[in-house]
């Protein structure tokens, strides 16, 4: 498990703790702080450089940086996804993967032979090929943010094949994994500074609400704690 410098971490954590910080402070402050906290940028182990650029851009569009605070990139969602690829989940070992694989009505669920690793490998290459063909030779990551969003919206509702992956399946894989990265314990590489939890007001691993069963609608007052004891 990789942990950023703890003092820096606490400093950022302190900043993140106040909700108003996200709403009113200059974004550059936390952006710099997060970058400084993560002195060496994460080097992906599964995704190649082209895929990594796609993934970073797509995650950020799904969960963008805005007045509420950092987006998926700042929170480490791409790192989270890269690390997940080398787990039983990423390899499809938690799923029934015996054939025959046939097409069936959508309501009967996932019927591809591809584990998440291959959904990304095939899907991203084809998605980039698609934008190059339709957007002046540009890869997805090189499009303007609004164009990226438009492409993702198209994928979200399309059966178009990206490799062997229907576009809507690649999109949903991205959406789910991005949100997992934003909202899971930082143990897995995402939710940096616990900022995903802070946004929602989720207190993390506190797991003791004896005094908060019913406070007549008052907001729970304590910030999140992670499994490793990090606070925000």
């Amino acid at each position: 498990m990789k942990m950023p410098s703890s003092t820096r971490r606490r400093f950022i954590g302190g900043l993140l703790g106040s909700a108003s910080f996200w709403l009113y402070s200059d974004h550059k402050v936390w952006a710099d702080a997060l970058v400084a906290g993560n002195a060496s940028p994460y080097a992906p182990r599964f995704f190649n450089q082209e895929e990594w650029r796609f993934l970073n851009a797509a995650c950020e569009r799904i969960y963008p940086t805005d007045a509420h605070g950092p987006g998926a990139r700042g929170l480490g969602a791409p790192e989270f996804i890269d690390r997940q690829m080398d787990t039983a989940y990423g390899r499809g070992e938690l799923w029934y993967m015996s054939g025959p694989f046939v097409t069936a009505p959508a309501n009967l669920g996932y019927q591809l032979s591809l584990p998440p690793r291959d959904v990304y490998r095939q899907g991203i290459a084809a998605a980039d090929a698609y934008t190059r063909a339709h957007h002046d030779g540009l890869s997805f990551a090189d499009l303007e943010a609004t164009e990226q969003t438009a492409v993702l919206k198209e994928f979200e509702h399309s059966d178009m094949a990206l490799g062997a992956v229907p576009a809507h399946l690649l999109f949903e894989q991205l959406r789910q994994n991005t949100l997992e990265g934003v909202f899971s314990d930082p143990l897995y590489g995402g939710n940096k500074g616990l900022a995903g939890w802070t946004l929602l007001g989720f207190p993390g691993a506190r797991a003791d609400f004896m005094d908060w069963v019913n406070q007549e609608g008052a907001a729970y007052p304590f910030g999140p704690v992670s499994i490793s004891g990090e606070t925000a």
Binding site: R61, I62, Y63, P64, D66, H68, T87, Y89, E93, L94, W95, Y96, M97, S98, P100, V102, A104, P105, A106, N107, L108, G109, Y110, Q111, T149, L152, R175, Q176, T178, L179, E180, V182, F183, S184, D185, L187, Y188, G196, W197, L199, L200, G201, F202, P203, G204, A205, A207, D208, F209, M210, W212, V213, N214, Q215, E216, G217, A218, A219, Y220, I227
Partner: protein
Amino acid sequence: MTTKKTDAIVIGAGWAGSILAKELTEAGLSVTILERGEDRATAVEGDYPTSIDELRGAIRHRLFQNLSQSTVTIRNTIDQTAVPYRRLAAFLPGEGVGGAGLHWSGVHFRVAPDDLALRTNVVARYGKSFIPEGMNLQDYDVTYEELEPFFDKAEKVFGTSGEPYTIKGKVAGTGNPFAPDRSDAFPLPAMRDVYSASLFKKAAANVGYHPYSLPAANASAQYTNPYGVQMGPCNFCGYCSGYDCYMYSKASPNVNILPALRQDPKFTLITKAHVLKVDLDSDGKKATGVTYLDLRTNQQVQLQADLVIISAFQFHNVHLMLLSGIGEPYDPVKNTGTIGRNFVYQTITTSRAWLPSKQYTNLFVGAGGAGVAIDDFNSMNFDHGPLGFVGGSPVWVNQAGVKPIAAAIGGPGGKAPTWGEGYKDAMVETYRHSLTIDAHGSNMAYRDIYLDLDPTYKNAYGQPLLRMTFTWKDNDIRMNQYVVSKIEPIMKEMGATRYALGQLHANDVFDTRRYQTTHLGGGAVMGADPKTSAINRYLQSWDVSNVFVIGASAFPQGMGYNPTGMVAALAYWAAYHIRTTYLKNPGPMVQA
């Protein structure tokens, strides 16, 4: 192949199996539980803080069945080709010691007495023609009065928290006025109502319904059960459903039964033992034991026994019967056979209300079994005559602890975006200021909804997978819509700024991609007639009398209540009759 011998074999170490194993060792038998999964102990699986991990727990399904080894196939109608249920979603079967009883939520009901004789009651009140064509409405052939002592026993073992209505015919509390009479109070007082549930309680009462705090197998106080094992008070951490409770507050076989059982020298637990089939003698009338695969050595082992208890969870029970040739497989075309017949589920839909921004619902606070419900539209508690459907739903706020990944993937609800611009604003409002109300209802049995063996797909051990043919039917869809319409006035009365009603729609098909419940039922149902039931009123196979089949597989209909209270009561009921009658004179307890 190795061969060994024991008095009784119990297949599966979940609730049903643990109860039977406890009772049979008490009766002096040597008992072996064969469990396909790993051993599990709360000290390990519930270790704080590492167990407080949504990604590993509920999202990556740490404690659930690993489908890579075995799953089911599913189709909606008889003319379709079934395809494998490849990823866990709609329902979440358990695996490992404790079964789904380790990671359940803890809503702990008895039964609505009318549901036990639903056919008789519907015919008596509305006439035979009220039953839609193709609906296999049936009675259990057991009464509430007969089961009452066993409901009482199960609650005492589970350390159930609840508020009674009547005890021995006298009003004794402010519990559910539709609940049947009790011989004794709950072992623990009701769980406190979280804020959302307290709002629902007030609003439901104001609009004329009869709200009550849910009976919960979450301990509202320190408790020692009749087996001498201890539970600590629940702190509303919200990590029931999908997790092992680190506070030892949620009832599980692991906390409430197995610590006592493990000390008994007559008891043996073999884990990583996947039962392939029950072995029968040459004329197929008696079980001689079982064959299991030792998953550690990959060797097949034959274990002989006088008595075999199939308690492997609802659909695994049916699967094992079909693989073993116990009883006649159901044929929906000829309408013959019973194994796989009356496969049922439950209807569940969730509606959401948003409160003003000064009111925080703190959705992460909660306990799996706690909340507030109304039974005004459950079972036969209302007049179905003008409505023209059979069945009903309790309606409740069961804030079991909503965690952020599930909430984020589910999205903010209503018409809000599920990603990108505007998503965060909507998520914040939903997570901080909304609450949900469920209609958790019955599902009737139909001639063309059933279980059998799949012709194509196999498990990792080369056996055919179980095939589910299942979809929603008009009767149940209309029931759900009617009950959901009763939620609207409650939401208005709660002061919701807006709300979104969730309901089934005409012609909706069963969607395997969305979690509904793990309350599957039927397929090996109990009853009085061997032509329409697989087991008799004592849960004994009509065909192989030294096999008992315990679980929700015995339910002829899917009921509005959660099943485990009923499963546990039936387990104690069957065990009582095995102990007092069967063991003295083994053989069929009811003449076919």
